[in-house]
């Protein structure tokens, strides 16, 4: 197990290096460099000043040196400053990461709380009205764009309850109640999408497990239905669900981009969108790499959890 974990960790390094190369290459693809495009739009900066800024940002170095420098900055956790605000990227990330973490954790919790019971209900009452309702909700969850759902939630919350998203973020430690007020609706919107895929998976795996011999044995012993379903069947049925939830992490992280923008939450997603709109290259490339690294790590954790949950799986 430890050996497997170590090997997977080692394999993740070249993948991340390639991702960084792709991100770096992408930022250098366009004609000229980041700065010419940037300053060309405002058009009131002299050639000498441009040279100076270019030198300050090390954009006059050859590409391989720029790449090496950037990698070193990432590894040593000093990814530089934003071109626009001049704020160190670590400072802005320090403010944004807790927001995104809270949002995704809450969304995941809400998503699972909705998905697993409905999935089980759908499976145990297959082809009844409640099963159909559950399945229709799941398919619509996969098709409703989260930015639309978010916009509708805000619109109708404003019309019916005169609720508007609060301006200015309040951390959980300052005021737990106000913080939850800010996070509950966006997390629900984000969690709904996650719950759709999870619900579908839970339903099909529970259906499969309920036909297994050992479940029949449990019924034959005269156990109560609740115990058969929750104690015997669900535990094994949840194993593939872990993989689905793991696979949804990327969708969840991408979803924060949209949900944070709509609900005005100052997290990683909104930071990235703003950096993209302002063409703030150092921030964009650092954020994208951070997301990629998080995703690769989380996927590794999901695989390890899988091995831990299912004793039949032993990695060589």
């Amino acid at each position: 197990m430890y050996k497997y974990a170590a090997r997977r960790l080692l394999l993740a390094i070249p993948v991340l290096l390639l991702s960084s190369l792709i991100v770096f290459g992408l930022m250098r693809v366009m004609p000229g460099d980041a700065l010419t495009a940037l300053m060309g739009e405002s058009g009131n900066i002299g050639e000498r000043e441009l040279q100076k800024i270019r030198h300050d940002l090390r954009l006059d170095l050859p590409y391989y040196q720029q790449y090496g420098l950037w990698l070193w900055q990432l590894v040593s956790l000093h990814p530089g400053e934003s071109i626009f605000t001049g704020e160190p990227i670590t400072t802005s990330l320090g403010k944004a990461i807790p927001v995104t973490l809270e949002l995704t954790a809450l969304a995941m919790a809400l998503g699972l709380v909705i998905a697993v019971p409905i999935g089980v209900l759908s499976a145990t009452r297959q082809d009844t009205a409640s099963d159909y309702v559950g399945r229709v909700v799941a398919v619509s969850g996969l098709s409703l764009p989260d930015f639309w759902l978010g916009t509708l939630v805000i619109t109708f919350a404003a019309i019916w309850f005169h609720w508007i998203p609060a301006i200015g973020y309040v951390s959980f430690w300052e005021s737990p109640l106000r913080n939850l007020q800010q996070f509950l609706l966006p997390a629900a919107v984000l969690g709904f999408r996650l719950s759709a895929a999870t619900m579908r998976m839970t339903r099909s795996t529970v259906l499969e497990v309920l036909r297994e011999d050992y479940v029949r044995t449990a019924w034959a012993k005269g156990l109560e239905g609740r115990i058969v379903v929750y104690k015997h069947a669900l535990k094994n049925a949840l194993i593939p669900v872990v993989t689905i939830v793991g696979g949804q992490l990327g969708v969840l992280l991408a979803g924060t981009v949209v949900v944070e923008t709509i609900f005005a939450l100052p997290g990683m997603g909104r930071l990235t969108v703003e950096a993209i709109l302002f063409r703030d290259y150092p921030v964009v490339q650092t954020n994208v790499m951070l997301v990629a690294a998080t995703l690769v790590t989380l996927n590794l954790l999901v695989d390890l959890t899988y091995a831990w949950l299912d004793p039949r799986i032993r990695y060589q």
Partner: protein, 299 residues
């Protein structure tokens, strides 16, 4: 002489496979009502896009400030927006952008992914290792974030959004095609073709490719829905289609959010259009899989 004779036979066999697939699809659509619903949704979307000029009651770009933010009525069933443009006409014309971006992005992504997958699966070895790690590297970045980064580099426009979505599609497609090629290569007839000295392109085109088309079509259908969703999201975030072109995502972000309390219909109808289009392609992908995947058919 023998060579001349085999040709029509091969063509007939191809036609039979195609016919068999269409028949399997038709049976599934008839047996499963959701399949019929998805086919109807897609047909409606395609027809709306083709006949947009005839279907739209007004010019989607014509502003009439005197009737701005008018609620839905007989004259304007979906209401009007902040400068008095007819929302129904804009939604109808928006189907063109969504379908166009979806088809082209998925087309480019599928063809490129297929070529890469064929190359990797057929050659194996070092090429395969290097290219597949590159695909891993792209896949490590969430699709929407990658598309955002690409568009930020290329400048926001419909075409660039399309290219960005195509790039997102390539790695997953290449992997599935690669897997299918690897398993198709195990077939005896491929070995036989190699033994009688067929050239590589011929083996790939005539013996391997036909095995790979079903999985490609299934993924392409599911990706069409996703591509429409990503285009709408990019436009919503302001880096996709630019105003005044009617794009569903853009309609939601520019006027839909600004006037949501006074005029909720501005956000309601474009969003509904996106959802129905995506739902159609998602369900259709499921139906295709049910019809063509022998493992699922048995159940």
């Amino acid at each position: 002489m023998a060579l001349v004779n085999t040709r029509p036979a091969v063509l007939e066999a191809d036609a039979a496979v195609e016919l068999g697939r269409l028949r399997a699809l038709w049976t599934t659509i008839r047996r499963k009502p959701l399949g019929a619903v998805s086919a109807a949704l897609i047909a409606a979307l395609v027809l709306t896009a083709i006949l947009a000029d005839q279907l739209a009651p007004y010019d989607p770009l014509a502003a009439r400030p005197e009737i701005r933010l008018a609620a839905p009525s007989w004259e304007h069933p979906f209401g009007t927006d902040d400068i008095g443009r007819d929302v129904l006409s804009r939604v109808v014309h928006g189907s063109r952008i969504s379908l166009w971006v979806g088809l082209l992005a998925v087309g480019i992504g599928t063809v490129a992914g297929m070529l890469i997958g064929l190359l990797c699966g057929y050659c194996e070895g070092r090429t395969d290792l290097v290219v597949q790690r590159l695909m891993d590297g792209i896949q490590a970045i969430p699709g929407l974030v990658l598309a955002l980064a690409v568009v930020s580099v290329l400048r926001p426009s419909t075409t660039n959004a399309m290219l960005a979505i195509a790039l997102v599609i390539i790695p997953g497609n290449s992997r599935i095609v690669r897997g299918a090629v690897l398993s198709a290569k195990q077939n005896r007839y491929v070995e036989a073709a190699q033994a009688i000295g067929c050239r590589h392109p011929r083996i790939i085109l005539r013996h391997i490719l036909p095995n790979v088309t079903a999985p490609i079509l299934v993924i392409a259908s599911i990706w069409l829905g996703n591509a429409i969703l990503i285009e709408a999201t990019l436009s919503f975030l302001g880096v996709g289609t630019q105003p005044p072109t009617p794009s569903w995502g853009l309609m939601l972000s520019s006027t839909g959010r600004a006037f949501m309390e006074q005029a909720p219909w501005l956000a309601l109808f474009p969003g509904l259009a996106i959802s129905l289009a995506v739902l159609g392609f998602n369900l259709f992908g499921d139906t295709l899989r049910d019809a063509w995947d022998p493992k699922l058919r048995r159940n």
